[in-house]
């Protein structure tokens, strides 16, 4: 067995990430509430699916067998979820050993799928107190690039929705299991489709990132995982790590997650429908994956990002060249950032630095300089300082009062968004 230690996040990686968050940038260029792309592929067997969430990849397989029911629930079938963190996903995962991470993932998935009673267990009963179907979902993690939970929950749900169990008939005494060729297999009865949606929490709720990558996951103070179905019903809530979050933030995040949940569930349903159509023509299953070529974007993404990083630096230098008081020079950076916030709320953060890259930003500064230069610059930094205050005090009222005193309506808008 291997003995590879977990990769440690270096301090420079950590500060780089946090510094970027302060400028509302994510390392992969996503907006704060943007998720990675979900892809669902089904195998040729019933109840087998391969899900990728960005670069995180998971394979799920549902299997069934006949068992004696639990004495406490004689009329219900059994559902078992089993997440396996294989060393293929990350070298520090150990095979055949339950790690804390694995137990937590298992429990969170159980909470989301089993405890929310999404699967109708009563329909799995063959004979009361004697024979029931035991459904087992095996989720093998293949590639760990952050947010295994979301990926695993999508895979488990898609596999369960795709799965069909063989039909069983009873002629008085004998039970006969009909093979798939003899009788059409029966799909599972699913009441509602719950999925887990995970957020990373930084600086006690100041930055909340949807669908964290591996690095973000490791740097974050805490993670907030919300189980939701397409009807916006909560099926599980877990706040792990150490963070003091206010209830408002949790409610706000849950509302955002609800929109995501319905789109994910729709995608699962579409994928199953599409698969049923393909199934009639060909039964190749995963072989389709071999022909698919992923666009090579990993290297590009990073270099694009690093380009932005360097232009940002340059810009600051240019501004400092402008004839200003020494005090203002330091603060020039900040109005620049506040100007960035606007496009960020509307869409992705990537666009922002590009737009005021060379021409625009400088032109704006030039005009302001000629008109009423000094006044503009002194005023702008103030609200920026206040934004920090809000996060610290957690009270909006206080901040609003301060703002009114300043009488800057322009800035207030930004805070509200």
């Amino acid at each position: 067995m291997s003995n590879i230690r977990k990769t440690i996040v270096s301090n420079c990686e950590k500060t780089f990430l946090l510094k970027n968050l302060a400028e509302f940038n994510r390392l992969d260029g996503r907006a704060f509430d943007e998720f990675r792309k979900v892809e669902i592929e089904f195998g040729s067997d019933w109840g087998c699916c391969f899900v990728s969430l960005g670069k995180t990849k998971v394979i799920a397989q549902v299997s069934c067998e006949i068992q004696q029911p639990k004495s406490s629930r004689p009329g219900e079938g059994i559902l078992n979820l089993n997440v396996e963190l294989n060393p293929i996903a990350a070298p520090h995962f150990e095979a055949d050993r339950q790690s804390n991470e694995q137990v937590q993932l298992n429990r969170l998935l159980e909470k989301c799928l089993k405890d929310s009673k999404a699967i109708d267990l009563e329909s799995l009963c063959i004979k009361n107190n004697e024979k029931v179907w035991a459904i087992r979902v095996d989720i093998n993690v293949l590639n760990h690039e952050g947010n295994i939970l979301d990926c695993a929950s999508i895979a488990a749900l898609a596999a369960l929705a795709h799965f069909r169990r063989p039909d069983v008939t009873c002629d008085g005494e004998e039970f006969v299991i009909h093979s798939i060729k003899q009788k059409d297999p029966i799909p599972m009865v699913i009441h509602h489709y719950p999925v887990c949606i995970t957020y990373s929490v930084f600086n006690s709720g100041l930055y909340i990132l949807a669908d964290p990558t591996l690095l973000e996951e490791n740097v974050a103070d805490a993670f907030l995982s919300i189980g939701l179905n397409a009807y916006k019903e909560l099926c599980g809530l877990h706040l792990g790590g150490k963070a003091d979050l206010s209830p408002e933030i949790i409610i706000q995040t849950a509302n955002k997650a609800a929109a995501r949940a319905s789109s994910v569930v729709q995608q699962i349903k579409d994928a199953i429908e599409q698969n049923n159509e393909i199934r009639r023509e060909q039964k190749d299953g995963f072989c389709r994956l071999a022909n698919k070529r992923d666009p090579v974007e990993l290297v590009e993404e990073l270099s694009v990002y690093l380009d932005q990083w360097s232009t940002k630096k340059k810009k600051n230098k240019r501004k400092s060249k402008e004839p200003k008081d020494e005090q203002i020079e330091q603060e020039v950076k900040e109005p620049d950032i506040t100007a960035d916030i606007k496009p960020l709320v509307a869409g992705t953060a990537v666009l922002v630095p590009k737009e005021n890259d060379d021409g625009d930003a400088i032109k704006v500064w030039d005009t302001s300089e000629s008109e009423d230069d000094a006044v503009e610059f002194v005023e702008l930094p103030h609200p920026k300082v206040e934004t920090v205050d809000i996060a610290d005090t957690d009270s909006e009222e206080e901040a609003v009062i301060v703002l009114n005193a300043d009488q800057k309506t322009k800035k207030r808008k930004k805070r509200l968004t």
Partner: protein, 206 residues
């Protein structure tokens, strides 16, 4: 006789040093390789790298049969890799079953070889495996029969690429000596196609 179709997708996973999704007919396996990496002291060899193999079935826990596949693939890889180059380290080969259409072992071996090639680790030679089936009509075929009961015996033979020697052999079922020799010869012929495929894929992925 219809030829088995090979397909693969290199570097499908980002974490392992080398990874591949390999399809042989309808059988699909994902393989990943880490190496050379740190090793536990009790497992370390002072003169060579420890080659370790993990095989995961897609449902349930790995059983005795899966352990057998694991050791079969490990032995094959151990002979092929130049382990002496990396003393006191380990090479980990991980295999995940995706879809099984009776050619699982040969597909896993081929996937392991592709993973080694994609990671760029030093090898003495490539290795490729072919599965041959003996049907109940005493006929040797390379494509898996549709019905399980039609298979009387199964041969998995692993060859190396330089001199075509046999590296490993796995059989199931009853067969005569002549039938075995016949199986070896048809597998040997088919294995040339496997190596051709390996080379073509590597050239395409350059």
């Amino acid at each position: 006789m219809e030829a088995t179709k090979y397909r693969c997708n290199l570097d499908i996973l980002s974490r392992p040093d080398g990874s591949v999704l390999f399809c042989e007919g309808k059988t699909t396996v994902i393989a990943g390789l880490y190496g050379p990496v740190e090793v536990k002291i009790q497992k370390a060899h002072i003169d060579k790298a420890t080659v370790d193999c993990h095989y995961r079935p897609k449902s349930g826990l790995p059983g005795v049969e899966d352990r057998l596949y694991e050791s079969f693939i490990r032995n094959t890889c151990e002979t092929s890799l130049v382990a002496a180059l990396f003393p006191r380290s380990a090479v980990l080969i991980m295999l995940q079953e995706m879809q099984n259409d009776k050619q699982l072992i040969s597909c896993a071996v081929n996937a392991a070889c592709m993973a080694c090639l994609s990671s760029g680790i030093d090898m003495k030679f490539m290795f490729g495996a072919v599965t041959a089936f003996l049907t109940k009509d005493e006929e040797l075929v390379l494509t898996p029969p549709i019905i399980d009961k039609d298979i009387k015996a199964l041969f998995v033979i692993v060859f190396e690429s330089t001199e075509g020697r046999i590296l490993a052999c796995h059989t199931e079922g009853c067969f005569s000596k002549e039938q075995f020799n016949q199986a070896v010869s048809i597998c040997e012929a088919q294995c040339i196609n496997v190596f051709k495929f390996f080379k073509q894929t590597l050239l395409d992925n350059k």
